[in-house]
Symmetry: C2
Subunit: 294 residues, 2 copies
């Protein structure tokens, strides 16, 4: 399979996994379960679960074996978007070209659906790896740390606080995005490695690769917000400049931001080459992240 076929295959597994691994929409409370599915079915790149599936395969695990972990990552990512879109946060009506969850349902339902997706990630890991408790524990530990107050949520909080400041430095911005964006990308690679039975030193290498890819992803996000249009992005473009938000583009300009993204990608690609197995897919994915248009 070439890269695009392989990517489509992984994305297909994730999309099919939504139906398989989320509570049925007709199970009470049907409104809650319908909202959880609505949020998860919003499309998107499925970057985190795809990374987990591809990494597990690198270490010889059957792709299907990593699917519950991949879905858990997507549950966490999706909950963070649902809560981030709420009126008290970014107050966004549009996500991936359609109504955000609180617009399609209501605020209380979106709040609870987000809470439920966050919790469901741990249901998925503890139930589906129950016959391998040490693996289940390692997966829960990695995901909880990545999603917690020191990483994902911490990054969101620092990001909110930075919006009110005019003295945000390049160091602050890295700190925000190492937590808000890179933490979950690191966890995606590491959890794939855990399912594949990778050694501790290899998990450390995966974590470093995730860090580089996470920074790349965020820098490119900032560039796209400044240069692409809403229709292409599937979300409101130009929001950063309108809010006078400190971004890589505002701090460094488009050209330097572009160079920083390329540097991070190059580091990730070099580290990928040092891993065992066929890293062609993950390398192509890394390149695609820095070249993406939406």
């Amino acid at each position: 399979m070439n890269f695009n076929q392989q990517l489509a295959d992984y994305v297909g597994q994730v999309e099919a996994g939504i139906d398989r691994f989320l509570p049925p929409a007709d199970e009470r409370p049907t409104r809650l379960h319908t909202a959880m599915r609505y949020a998860m079915q919003g499309g998107g790149k499925r970057l985190r679960p795809v990374m987990a599936l591809a990494t597990a395969e690198l270490f010889g695990a059957p792709a299907d074996d990593a699917l519950p972990a991949a879905m858990a990552l997507e549950c966490i990512h999706t909950y963070s978007l649902v809560h981030d879109d709420l009126p008290c946060m970014d107050d966004d009506d549009l996500r991936r070209g359609r109504a955000t969850t609180h617009k399609a349902f209501d605020e209380a339902t979106a709040l609870l659906a987000g809470d439920a997706l966050l919790t469901h990630a741990f249901v998925l890991l503890t139930v589906n790896y129950a016959n391998r408790p040490a693996m289940a524990h390692a997966l829960c530990r990695e995901l909880a740390a990545a999603a917690g107050s020191r990483r994902l949520i911490g990054g969101q909080m620092e990001d909110l606080l930075a919006e009110k400041r005019t003295d945000v430095t390049a160091g602050d911005l890295d700190l925000i995005h190492l937590n808000k964006t890179a933490a979950m990308i690191e966890a995606s690679l590491v959890m794939g490695g855990i399912v594949g039975g990778a050694e501790t030193s290899t998990l450390d290498a995966l974590r470093r690769i995730g860090r580089h890819l996470g920074l790349t992803f965020q820098i490119v996000d900032d560039i796209l917000d400044a240069t692409a249009d809403t229709a292409t992005l599937g979300k409101t473009a130009g929001k950063d400049a309108e809010a006078d938000k400190t971004t890589y583009v505002k701090l460094h300009g488009i050209d330097t931001a572009r160079r920083l993204a390329d540097e991070q990608t190059a580091k990730a690609v070099r580290a990928l080459a040092a891993l065992p197995g066929d890293t062609a897919f993950l390398t192509a994915l890394a390149r695609k992240l820095t070249e993406r248009k939406s």
Copy 2:
């Protein structure tokens, strides 16, 4: 130690555990970590962690051994209150006699602090039982199931939906509270049992006891809302009647509600008597739950 001394001792362990098991307030993001601590330091009965500590001790575990699990339960309970108090949910300004988290901070901070407490519960379990991965897994599994869309959050959603209906039955009300209230009380006893190394059949008995105590707790809550004043309760009294909410009191009247609570307590006390070890504390706690005035 008599019951009150023992209770004060357990509550003291939990209160001291807040400082020990939550991220330091001076660690970035300080606003987030301060809000998490504020929410947890609001006092309250500490019912769930006390039950976990007492149950673990019943099976011979050192009380300290159950403390991380007890704190994880309190993190989940507290997050559910923080989110429940938000304007899009119950919109409450007062909780345990002081400002709710979104009033003391702001809505975005309260939302994220709730998310972070929920996630931190799994950080606590995975980090503090790391040298016993099978136990860590069992604890995470129990907590995730109790807190998920089919139990705690499901009960909250059904409760919200019921507020808009006039045809809520006794069966509906039991379903709401078996999930909204009893699920976490069941989990408290079961997680204490897991830390204590209890057999599966004993964990099942603990779950049934938790179910009875959870229903008792909720029925008494409804009675107190209808009969006590705001100062005694430390939260706004009479809200149920004002909202014309279906409660045990509205459905059955005060006297029958009282009898139902007593029946559930009696069932719990009988089941406690069949457990091994000295169940005097848990039995006294069960009685206290049904006789409480706030």
